[in-house]
């Protein structure tokens, strides 16, 4: 049947205009559902399903141009916000833009309600199974779950066997990957119980797609996610006992595939983002190393797999966790969400037993079933499967790749060469317990936009649920995952594919759960800062320093490229431009002794030297990424623009279209963005330690830079050109001219640039701010602090004493080294106390000569 011919008759756009119908026909011209799969858009007769029709009309009404605009709006949001995931390829891994489908997956209210009930039931069942297997293991004793599936499971944490989590529950968050079977019923592809990921990406998808299709979202009554997010926040925090709950999100760090999401989630939930190195177990409790002092952590939301959480009692090679954490858990000193050991029930092999377990533990059949699965540890089952092996998909029983045997994603046996098939059969005969056999997946399909037209692609949804005293709440939405090819069977984001927002219809059908508003008297205003982990302080400090370093470089470039002084930079007789070019070389921004000034400015803006602008922007983004949860999205966007501005300059250079004029323009634009970033952070960051460290780093770097400018441009032989450049580099020309009608002279220029308190670029001004920040961060007794005190005294003396030999190079240099001493002191006082962990097991067994006593009576 020709589905498209059918469509033209069936659904005319609301405005019933001919061009709308034509647009619709164009959209659907190439839409071909996969035979034998359920399609979200078209029913079995090739007609659009009722809930999709309004959306089709909306899309047709947008027209090609409107659709393009919507798509770029979404992409711009993702790109501006730096939504990325890291691809594990090669040694360092690269970041990829987050691939978002520009169409939502649309779910009718009734369909979704049924799915949500199934998810809640399954989540509760997983909790019950976990509580048994990690505890009394009655299910093993009775034979309902084979002992080998627990004993052989890498997520069975022996040091915690029989230890009930302090919170009384294993799972706070649960996620499940589901897809529709050919009959439209939902099937479970995988359970996620360890540290379910994707919630942050799901929220980002929602924001991006809302930007693209706001009218459609509002008009069609899509259910919002805010209530669910608030519920996650309050459930993970647990019952408030009056004190501020102390929580943190633990991430493996910026190298992780989904670090963006960790930072994003921390920000959305309002918990600090920490790494293992920020934490320490003292006695039975967990502490966060904070620049304001150690702070106890009650609840740790982990994005680190359990095995890596404690190098002392779990994986001793791990450097991601906290030594002694298992002890703290055992002693009831901390709650981990999800509890350590929760990964046990993710294993594919459990799905072979889950149906009967549901009957046994809850007395009810499982309403959200798994794909039919068989564990091959039972020799009879293994023989049955081996005899018809091409009918099945084989997968590792515990979901982890077995090197040289089978990949974690499993394999469709029918697609294998006979020799590989025989190898698998032999492996099953030797060790059937390592495998499960499953019915091959037949994923449902959903529409995506390909080249302005709709196309059907296989899809699955990750659905999230949060545990609470009143049971499980399921998020009205999810992380849709869509394959790139019509016949794909796996959906890993590592291997291509895209994600989609899931729009559940029916806003207003159910009243929102009353979680947004806390009871009127239950929340007392608090002024605590949430603390600042030492690592975050370190990164903020360096973010400030790198930004100012970039600014100094850009100012030199602009000054050189703008030819504001009278001397001709390329003439050997005029040395002031040369002095600045040398400064760029000295900073590692440009090569030594460039023949022409243009070479120096181009290198400083587009070169590969570490001190050149691209390298500094990389350093800025690296440090900013590590504190992403503390920066506003607006500030983050500015960093994206900064990177793009420099990329454009590099592209122009490639094209041979980059000269002094372009260098001046680029430097101007980049300086504006740096200023915008500082402005944004100063206007939005809460005035606590985090902001102070950022500003402290910036002040130190700026003070050093200004001192260096002054030293280069005021030495013996300095002329008017030098002084003119110095005034411009420090934004002081106007002030100078209005104050001194006599013309340029070294002493008044240096007075203004170095020691004028009222000038926000003078070194003295930076010094005063530095003293103020240090005093505030350390608090009472700062001047007697053994590390910070001497540094403060040094700066204070330099500022107060004034020039001993008036403005001589030696004195300027002393200023510079004073500022560097402050930086060293800050590093020693707050950042360095975490020496790396070193393993103590250094000696293996059996290094003495062997040979037992033989012939002993």
């Amino acid at each position: 049947m020709d589905a498209n011919a059918q469509l033209e008759f069936d659904i005319a756009p609301d405005n019933a205009e001919g061009d709308g119908a034509a647009a619709l026909a164009r959209l659907l011209a190439a839409y071909r559902p996969v035979a034998g799969s359920h399609d979200e858009l078209l029913d079995g007769d090739g007609r659009p399903r009722a809930h999709w029709r309004p959306f089709l009309n909306d899309l047709a009404a947008l027209g090609d141009a409107g659709l393009d605009r919507a798509i770029s709006a979404a992409d711009r949001h993702l790109s501006d916000n730096g939504v990325v995931y890291r691809v594990y390829e090669g040694a360092d891994g690269r970041e990829r833009p987050w691939p978002l489908s520009h169409l939502p997956m649309v779910m009718p209210a009734a369909d979704w309600a049924e799915l949500a009930r199934g998810v809640a039931q399954r989540a509760a069942l997983m909790e019950a199974v976990l509580a048994d297997l990690a505890g009394p293991a009655r299910l093993v004793a009775s034979g309902a779950v084979p002992a080998a599936l627990v004993a052989g499971n890498p997520e069975f944490l022996r040091p915690l066997a029989g230890v009930t989590p302090r919170s009384g529950r294993y799972l706070s968050l649960y996620a499940v990957d589901v897809s529709r079977g050919p009959d439209g019923r939902w099937w479970v592809l995988a359970d996620r119980t360890q540290a379910p990921s994707g919630l942050g990406y799901a929220v980002e998808n929602r924001i991006a797609l809302y930007r693209a299709l706001p009218d459609m979202f509002e008009r069609r009554g899509v259910v919002r996610l805010a209530d669910f997010i608030q519920r996650v926040r309050s459930q993970i925090a647990g019952p408030a006992d009056g004190a501020a709950p102390s929580l943190a999100v633990l991430t493996p760090g910026p190298a992780n595939e989904t670090y963006f999401e960790h930072a994003y989630l921390a920000r959305v939930l309002g918990f600090p983002l920490v790494e293992g190195g920020d934490l320490a177990v003292v006695g039975d409790t967990l502490w966060l190393r904070d620049v304001e002092g150690a702070r106890r952590i009650d609840v740790l939301l982990r994005r680190v797999d359990a095995g890596f959480m404690d190098p002392l009692e779990l994986n001793t090679a791990s450097r991601l966790g906290v030594p002694g954490l298992v002890h703290a858990v055992r002693a009831g000193g901390v709650t981990i969400a999800n509890a350590l050991g929760s990964g046990l029930v993710e294993m594919p092999a459990l799905r072979a037993f889950i149906g009967p377990l549901s009957e046994r533990l809850t007395g009810k059949p499982l309403s959200l079933p798994s794909l039919a699965t068989w564990w091959l540890g039972d020799p009879a089952v293994a023989r049955m499967v081996a005899s018809e092996i091409e009918r099945f998909t084989l997968a590792p029983a515990f979901g982890r790749t077995i090197p040289g045997v089978i990949d974690s994603q499993g394999v469709d046996v029918a697609t294998l060469e006979p020799a590989d098939r025989q190898r698998l059969v032999a492996a099953i005969a030797r060790r059937g317990m390592d495998f499960v056999a499953q019915e091959p997946v037949r994923l449902g399909t959903t529409p995506v936009i390909e080249g302005g037209r709709l196309a059907a692609r296989p899809c699955a949804i990750r659905v999230f649920a949060v545990n609470g005293p009143d049971g499980w709440t399921v998020m009205p939405g999810g992380l849709g995952r869509i394959a790139d090819k019509p016949d794909a069977r796996t959906l890993s984001m590592q291997r291509g594919g895209r994600s989609a927002d899931v729009w559940v219809l029916g806003r207003g059908v159910e009243p929102p759960a009353p979680v947004l508003m806390a009871a009127a008297d239950s929340v007392t205003p608090r002024r605590d800062s949430g603390g600042l982990p030492a690592r975050a302080a370190d990164n903020l400090f360096w973010l400030g320093r790198y930004l100012e370093r970039l600014e100094a470089t850009l100012r030199v470039v602009r000054n050189l490229a703008g030819r504001t002084a009278d001397d001709d930079p390329d003439q050997a007789g005029h040395v002031s431009a040369r002095r600045l070019a040398d400064l760029l070389a000295h900073w590692g921004a440009a090569p030594n002794l460039p023949r022409r000034i243009e070479v120096a400015t181009t290198a400083a803006l587009t070169g590969a030297l570490p001190g050149a602008a691209p390298g500094l922007v990389d350093a800025i983004r690296r440090t900013a990424t590590a504190v992403r949860d503390r920066l506003s999205p607006d500030a983050w966007r500015i960093l994206g623009e900064l990177k793009r501005a420099l990329e454009a300059a590099a592209a122009a250079r490639e094209a041979g279209e980059f000269g002094l004029a372009e260098a001046a323009t680029t430097a101007d634009e980049a300086l504006r963005l740096v200023a915008a970033f500082f402005g944004m952070t100063h206007e939005t960051m809460y005035r606590r330690a985090g902001w102070r460290f950022l500003d402290l780093g910036g002040r130190i770097e700026r003070g050093i830079a200004v001192a260096r400018f002054a030293r280069r441009l005021s030495g013996p032989g300095a002329d008017a050109n030098d002084l003119e450049r110095l005034l411009e580099l420090t934004d002081t020309r106007v002030v100078y001219r209005s104050r001194y009608l006599e013309g340029l002279a070294a002493r008044p220029v240096l007075d203004l640039v170095l020691v004028d308190d009222a000038h926000p670029r003078s070194v003295t001004y930076q010094a005063r701010k530095i003293l103020e920040h240090l005093g505030q961060i350390v608090g009472i007794g700062a001047t007697t602090d053994p590390v910070i005190g001497p540094a403060m005294a040094l700066v204070d003396t330099l500022v107060k004493s004034g020039p001993a030999e008036p403005f001589g190079p030696a004195w300027i240099e002393a200023l510079e080294s004073g500022l560097m001493a402050v930086s060293d002191a800050v590093t020693r006082r707050w950042f360095l106390d975490a020496a790396p962990f070193v393993g103590m097991a250094g000696r293996r067994e059996g290094t003495a000569t062997p040979g037992p006593a033989r012939g002993e009576p």
Partner: protein, 300 residues
């Protein structure tokens, strides 16, 4: 046979460390065929030291020190009696029966076979080792005989060579070079036995050593030792084999801990925040009471 054992571990740090956290498995086991008569673990500087049993029933000491130090001395002393085990019925299971038995259990207790059935951190399955092992593991052969043969083959085919491998050497590498120390041989044998679907576990402990004739026993020259046990069904339990020496575990083998591999039983494991390097020295003495008595006799 009664043994007096002393095991001392000394860490010397070039830069003082702010504290230490470690797990010690230095106390010989109490189990059939072996009786722990007395034991003591001490640390200098003294910290928070607590004794407990780990999952496998091994005695562990958890040690936490929050005081800065540049030297840490951990000393374990024990007196143990090793007695001969009741003789095997001789009607042990076949290889095929032992494979089924390894999967059949319904408990997760410390001695359950399931713990030894799967690859573990230091013992991934290696096709070449599985193939090497399979040649001895004919299905209908008595298990004890088949494993004893494998044990002898490893002893014959591998060269004891402390320089060839280190603590991180994988079983695949040790197998490829056919060299290593007891830890390597035990890991290779575990990989092979598990590869053919049998349950097997790692045993760490001490081996009584006897000086060459005419030489004096050297103080502190002994070492920890490692061997394996294979699961032979509920009736027979775990049977010990020492592939380094090609013999069954016997009166000279003193068991300290069992686990899936070295990672579960390493005598001292822990972490310390160290800015500089450290030196580690270990000295072990295993003295049989009878020898001490003999040594006390006048020469001649």
């Amino acid at each position: 046979m009664i043994y007096d054992i002393s095991h001392r571990t000394i860490y010397d740090y070039s830069v003082p460390v702010p504290g230490a956290r470690c797990v010690l498995r230095l106390t010989p086991a109490n189990r059939p065929g072996q009786r722990l008569i007395s034991h003591a673990v001490t640390a200098e500087p003294a910290g928070d030291l607590t004794e407990a049993a780990d999952f496998f029933g091994n005695t562990v000491h958890r040690f936490a020190l929050t005081e800065a130090h540049s030297r840490l001395v951990l000393t374990a002393r024990a007196t143990v009696e090793v007695t001969s085990l009741p003789a095997s019925s001789g009607r042990g299971p076949t290889v095929a029966a032992a494979r089924l038995a390894a999967l059949a259990g319904r408990d997760l207790g410390p001695d359950a076979p399931g713990h030894g059935l799967f690859p573990s951190r230091h013992v991934p399955l290696v096709e070449a080792i599985t193939g090497y092992t399979a040649r001895s593991m004919t299905a209908e052969r008595p298990l004890a005989m088949a494993v004893a043969e494998l044990n002898r083959r490893i002893q014959a085919d591998f060269v004891y060579d402390p320089q060839a491998t280190d603590v991180g050497t994988s079983p695949a590498t040790a197998f490829a070079v056919k060299r290593g120390v007891c830890q390597d041989f035990a890991h290779v044998m575990l990989a092979g036995l598990r590869g053919v679907g049998l349950a097997a576990r790692y045993v760490s402990g001490y081996l009584r050593t006897v000086p060459p004739p005419g030489q004096k026993r050297l103080e502190g020259a002994d070492a920890t030792h490692a061997w394996i046990e294979v699961y032979a069904g509920e009736a027979e339990g775990w049977l010990g084999f020492d592939p380094t020496n090609g013999i069954a575990a016997g009166l000279d083998h003193i068991v300290v801990a069992v686990g899936r591999d070295y990672a579960d039983v390493s005598p001292v494991d822990g972490v310390v925040r160290a800015a500089g390097g450290h030196d580690l020295s270990v000295s072990v003495d295993v003295v049989a009471r009878s020898e001490r008595a003999k040594a006390a006799l006048p020469a001649g």
